[in-house]
């Protein structure tokens, strides 16, 4: 196939963009790396989450809220094309507060975010312990539970099914997906690019770098110097249980099959994907403090993933000025932002480039000189 656009990276970000591009009628080749690459998409917790996000960047709050509001239609359209159940639900979400200090800190944080955004309506409220207990009649709350914040935009999805569905829909619409195709080099040539992935080279008019932690050296080859580092998150999962938790919480959710996931840590350990006893203690003790009846439940698996972390934690969407057909798209919230990637970002790449509303996400925002 001679593609119009090559998408480097077939994780949740790359696959959503590639899907959006084939929906718009473009010939797209998506290149997936190797089985031993870090592959954050396979380690994800599955939240489609809005509350608490975007401190000091109201544009990110808006992006997230918009994505959250588009998720239902995005899910319906995707499920129509492929017979994969994404297990997507939007019942609202809880962030549990253990102890009064956490409760007050949470309230303060959400109020500050609300003021920064300047919206008319609140999409969240603080619930005291009794109010939380009423929402969760099938489970007993631990003694330390002071309450929770409830965000009405929040939900969850099966992140592995999402990735599978994006790949299936992409292929069904004529996209070409190559696996084990780690890109070594990108070179500008004429009005387009040559992408070298091991045994083959492919040329295309446009290239999108959505390769997670592998993006930095590739972006450098097309004139973009993107600051990105790994941040480890560990997750644990239990055996399947009778349904007791009808809405996701930021640290614990019950999946469609009945398993309960505990997550996640935020560790600065470089490119280390080990799992640790320390994290197991932290995650399971917090889960048991929240829901003591989980104490005897069997844990089945513990894993880690490396988040794609920028200096402020917010996405980088940028177009190369030296080579305008080249883009880089990086974030650690690829699940929540999937509708934006499949729609607005795909639009921008397919047409005239990123619109001014995306300027705030360019990585030049990190070039602020230090004051003396």
């Amino acid at each position: 196939m001679k593609p119009d656009i090559v998408v480097i990276g077939a994780g949740t970000v790359g696959a959503a963009i590639a899907y959006g591009l084939v929906k718009r009628g473009h010939r797209v080749m998506m290149l997936d790396g190797g089985d031993r690459d870090f592959r954050a998409a396979n380690a994800n917790f599955g939240l489609v989450w809005a509350q608490g996000k975007g401190m000091d960047m109201p544009a990110y709050q808006q992006l997230t809220n918009g994505a959250s509001d588009q998720w239902g239609d995005f899910c319906a359209a995707l499920t129509d094309e492929v017979s994969i159940d994404l297990q997507y639900e939007r019942p609202g979400g809880l962030t549990f507060c253990l102890g009064e200090a956490e409760y007050e800190q949470r309230r303060t944080k959400l109020l500050r975010l609300h003021n920064q955004l300047g919206a008319d309506e609140r999409d969240w409220e603080m619930l005291d312990r009794d109010a939380v207990a009423k929402l969760l009649p099938r489970v007993r709350l631990g003694a330390d539970v002071a309450g929770a914040s409830f965000g009405r935009r929040d939900g969850h999805v099966n992140p592995l099914h999402l990735l599978m569905a994006l790949h299936s829909a992409f292929i069904r619409r004529g996209g070409v997906l190559r696996s084990g195709a780690t890109v070594r080099a990108i070179r500008a040539e004429g009005s387009g690019f040559i992408v070298d992935f091991g045994t083959e080279k492919v040329s295309a008019g446009k290239v999108v770098i959505a390769a997670g932690l592998g993006s930095k050296p590739l972006a450098a080859q097309i004139g973009l110097d993107v600051p990105v580092r790994p941040q480890r998150g560990q997750i644990m999962v239990t055996e399947r249980l009778e349904p007791f938790l009808p809405m996701p919480t930021n640290g614990l959710r019950q999946t469609g099959e009945g398993t309960v996931m505990f997550g996640a840590t935020h560790e600065e350990v470089g490119f280390d994907t080990e799992t640790t006893g320390k994290a197991a203690v932290y995650l399971s003790s917090r889960a048991v403090r929240t829901f003591p009846e989980l104490a005897d439940v069997n844990l089945v698996r513990q894993w880690s993933g490396l988040r794609i972390m920028t200096p402020d934690g917010y996405p980088i969407y940028a177009q190369s000025e030296a080579h305008p057909g080249a883009f880089v798209t990086l974030c650690h919230s690829g699940v929540t932002l999937a509708p934006v990637h499949a729609d607005a970002v795909a639009d921008a790449i397919a047409s005239d480039g990123l619109p001014p509303s995306f300027d705030v996400f360019h990585h030049r925002r990190f070039d602020v000189p230090q004051t003396a």
């Binding site: 489970v139 007993r140 055996e239 399947r240 249980l241 009778e242 007791f244 099959e257 009945g258 829901f291 009846e293 989980l294 005897d296 439940v297 069997n298």
Partner: protein, 98 residues
């Protein structure tokens, strides 16, 4: 499904399987006792509810799970019988708090 080749030990114990008193020999595993019953299953799987019975008899397959004395998801091949033990076949997903 299975039957003993020898006569039961006079030291035998009584366990209860789904409320039914059942003879067992000291030292045998709960899984072995379950395999000697006339039902050919001892568990219903959590997603599709299909029938399973103990398999590897050495603690690695997790097919022998049952509830013992109020605790669910116990690997019965790793549990020796004792007098008065209450065994229940596990049907579907475990409940929390149980």
């Amino acid at each position: 499904m299975f039957r003993k080749l020898h006569e039961p030990d006079p030291q035998r114990v009584t366990v209860h399987i789904d409320g039914v008193p059942t003879l067992a020999e000291p030292g045998e595993s709960v899984a072995a006792v379950l395999l000697r019953q006339s039902e050919d299953w001892s568990r219903l799987t959590p997603v599709s509810g299909s029938r399973r019975a103990p398999y590897c008899m050495m603690g690695v397959c997790f097919d022998c799970l049952a509830e013992i004395d109020g605790v669910a998801s116990v690997q019965t091949c790793l549990k020796p019988v004792c007098e008065g033990m209450k065994i229940k076949r596990q049907r579907g997903k475990r409940r929390i708090g149980a």
